[in-house]
């Protein structure tokens, strides 16, 4: 019975995704062209990895506002680290180093909130301000130019795992970042569902007292959840800045609202410690389809924020109401 309910929650999101895609494709057939599909998938990489991290914290019943500062700071530290040792970087160590930095930084949040039993959200408001600025106080400039970036990292933008030459002569490239997203999602799914610690993270969001009685250490679980969160956000951050080719602290700030929106669409609920990898991926897919296609559909630029906001709220309204109806039917 439980299994069936899960399928139903998921089905609502997939149906919503297909519905939006179909409507868009009817209005403008170019939405489904190879170029656009590839660019949509490329757009979803950053959002997807960051939202998966966000979900891990939300499962424990907390919420973290500092995701974008952690992302920015760990990308900055990684770039500086490469500069200092004079290495041009490569695709594997960059994710590993950024991930480690991110995990360590995010664990500060987890430690403070768990040790002093404070709300993780309120702590993150403060650490968000600190992480976003403390390293730049003593630096002359917070900006890294394209020449000063580790040069191998810049190849992230052009490296494709699949390249299609369409009839019009435009190439459709599927960026290498999608591999990172798929690997992260797979690893996180295995961790959350198949390991004891992963089940502990779910349990912590469900009932804090019960977790302790069963024999888990709440501190360990919180720290691990925050470390996973930090690592994911940092990986997304280093990918974003390598892709952009320059570094500037503010560039990433307005990406945060998309990540939160994906988490909302993905069915994350801090109150009950709900959230799943599949749900998040569906949420990311919906947000990306809406956000990347509005310009193609001919919506003026200054309507985009409003349209995205309205669609998020309508989508949430729709999926919450249908979920509630499902639950009521089950109750009967």
């Amino acid at each position: 019975m439980r299994k069936r309910a899960k399928i139903n929650d998921m089905t609502i999101r997939v149906v919503l995704f297909l519905l939006i895609l179909t409507v868009f494709a009817i209005i403008e057939p170019a939405v489904l062209s190879a170029t656009n599909v590839c660019s949509m998938i490329n757009d979803s990489i950053f959002n997807g990895i960051a939202a998966l991290g966000m979900m891990t914290v939300m499962i424990t019943g907390a919420f973290d506002l500092s995701s974008m500062s952690i992302s920015m700071l760990s990308a900055f530290l990684t770039l500086k680290f490469y500069n200092i040792i004079g290495y041009e970087g490569d695709f594997i160590t960059m994710f590993l180093i950024a991930g480690t930095f991110g995990a360590l930084i995010a664990m500060i949040n987890g430690f403070i909130s768990q040790k002093f039993s404070l709300s993780g959200f309120v702590v993150s408001i403060g650490t968000n301000l600190i992480f976003g600025s403390v390293f730049f106080i003593f630096l002359r400039s917070s900006y890294i130019k394209t020449d000063a970036m580790p040069q191998t990292l810049l190849k992230v933008r052009t490296t494709a795992i699949l390249s299609l030459q369409s009839s019009g002569g435009t190439a459709a490239n599927l960026n290498i970042g999608i591999v990172v997203l798929v690997l992260t999602a797979a690893a996180l799914w295995l961790f959350l569902n198949k390991t004891q610690l992963g089940r502990g993270i779910y349990a912590l969001g469900g009932d804090k007292v019960a977790v302790e009685r069963v024999g888990y250490d709440p501190m360990t679980i919180t720290l691990i959840a925050y470390a996973v969160f930090g690592a994911c956000v940092a990986i997304a951050g280093i990918y974003f800045y390598s892709n952009a080719g320059t570094f500037e602290p503010g560039m990433i700030a307005d990406k945060g609202s998309d990540v939160i929106a994906s988490a909302i669409f993905g069915g994350c609920n801090m109150k009950e410690g709900k959230g799943s990898v599949g749900g998040i991926l569906a949420g990311v897919a919906i947000i990306t389809v809406i956000k990347s296609n509005l310009i193609l559909l001919g919506v003026p630029v200054y309507y985009v924020t409003f349209t995205v906001g309205a669609m998020i709220l309508l989508g949430v309204l729709f999926s919450t109401l249908s979920e509630q109806r499902l639950q009521r039917n089950r109750g009967r």
Partner: protein
């Protein structure tokens, strides 16, 4: 006198007052000829009024256990709609007289503020979603709507009454400070004297208890979001009167300052706690630090770091673990003091 000092809530108010005065003296002594002037006082209190009203809009929600990230977006939207009516950009043909435009504009701003509260309230209370997520989504909606109305440009200019509100004084006290004071008196009345205020506190402390004592959580939350929207709209008009211009993305950083003020006032530390009076005093405290930083010309990075560190420090200082350690220190000091007296 002893009763006043003995009350724990009053002690907090008095210590906040002391901190504020000490801060003012320390920061003022760095720059005495700039800091202790009537002009600085007036510009400080004008800024303070703006942050103060946003803090109030935040406080209303924090008391009932939520959080409102959409206050600045609502404020901008309300000010843009109201301001467009005042300047005759909307309904300019129907309402001709300047006074009527002003009044209708104010009404429009307030109505939009309250309606935005209804939307937030419906999603939080009606659908049972988390306040942070909902308000960050509606914030995008309201900011987007403001962007649609202004088409991404700024609307410059304000009617005389509005610009006078932002620049003139009454007997040396800026009108804006009086307006903020009025808002705080209203809030003080609502949260200390009415049943609604008590319900909000109960809801914040224990939602189940509120439901079982015969109050509807839905109605309480809805009302508090409407009140928050109302204060946001007033905050928007205050911003408008200070800038005499309307932008959709004005003052985004004010949200975290408002949260800092509310936190310092003690609303987050105890569920359903926090006194309006304390928030009003901590407002001065924050504004003095902020002005001090501006006068000494620090960068945005330093300022943000200080805000963040302050926020964490206030949070930690209120936790039981640290409180115990503090009181033990106090106990040591007290035990030592009489010994010294004997020796002398």
């Amino acid at each position: 006198m002893k009763r006043v000092l003995g009350n724990k809530q009053n002690r907090k108010t008095i210590s906040l007052l002391l901190i504020t005065v000490v801060l003012a003296v320390i920061i003022g002594s760095f720059n005495p000829d700039k800091f202790f002037t009537a002009q600085n006082f007036q510009s400080m209190t004008r800024q303070l009024a703006e942050i103060g009203i946003y803090a109030l809009a935040m406080f209303v929600i924090v008391v009932s256990g939520g959080l409102n990230l959409s206050i600045v977006a609502v404020a901008n939207l309300a000010a843009i709609c109201g301001g467009s009516v005042m300047q005759g950009l909307i309904l300019g043909d129907v309402i001709v007289s300047p006074l009527a435009r002003l009044l209708v504009g104010l009404l429009v701003a307030v109505v939009i503020g309250v309606l935005s509260g209804v939307l937030n309230g419906y999603f939080v209370a009606g659908l049972g979603l988390t306040a942070v997520l909902v308000t960050s989504a509606t914030s995008q909606l309201f900011q987007g709507l403001a962007l649609v109305i202004t088409k991404g440009n700024a609307i410059v200019g304000a009617p005389e009454a509005i610009s006078a509100l932002g620049t003139h004084n009454l007997l040396g006290i800026p009108y804006l400070l009086l307006l903020a004071l009025g808002c705080y008196i209203v809030a003080e009345f609502v949260f200390e004297k009415t049943a609604f205020g008590a319900q909000c506190r109960l809801l914040g402390a224990n939602a189940t208890a509120n439901q079982y004592s015969g109050n509807s959580n839905y109605k309480t939350l809805m009302k508090s979001y409407m009140l928050s929207g109302f204060f946001s709209a007033i905050g928007g008009i205050v911003s408008y009167s200070r800038m005499c211009a309307l932008r959709s993305d004005y003052g985004n950083s004010l949200t975290s300052t408002a949260m800092l003020v509310v936190l310092m006032g003690g609303a987050w530390v105890v569920a359903g706690g926090g006194k309006v009076m304390n928030i009003f005093i901590s407002l001065f405290c924050i504004q003095i630090i902020s002005s001090g930083l501006t006068l000494s010309g620090t960068s945005n990075f330093t300022r943000n770091t200080i805000w963040g560190a302050l926020l964490i420090a206030i949070l930690l200082a209120a936790t039981p673990a640290i409180q115990q350690r503090l009181s033990r220190l106090k106990g040591l000091a007290r035990r030592r003091a009489p010994n010294k007296g004997n020796a002398a």
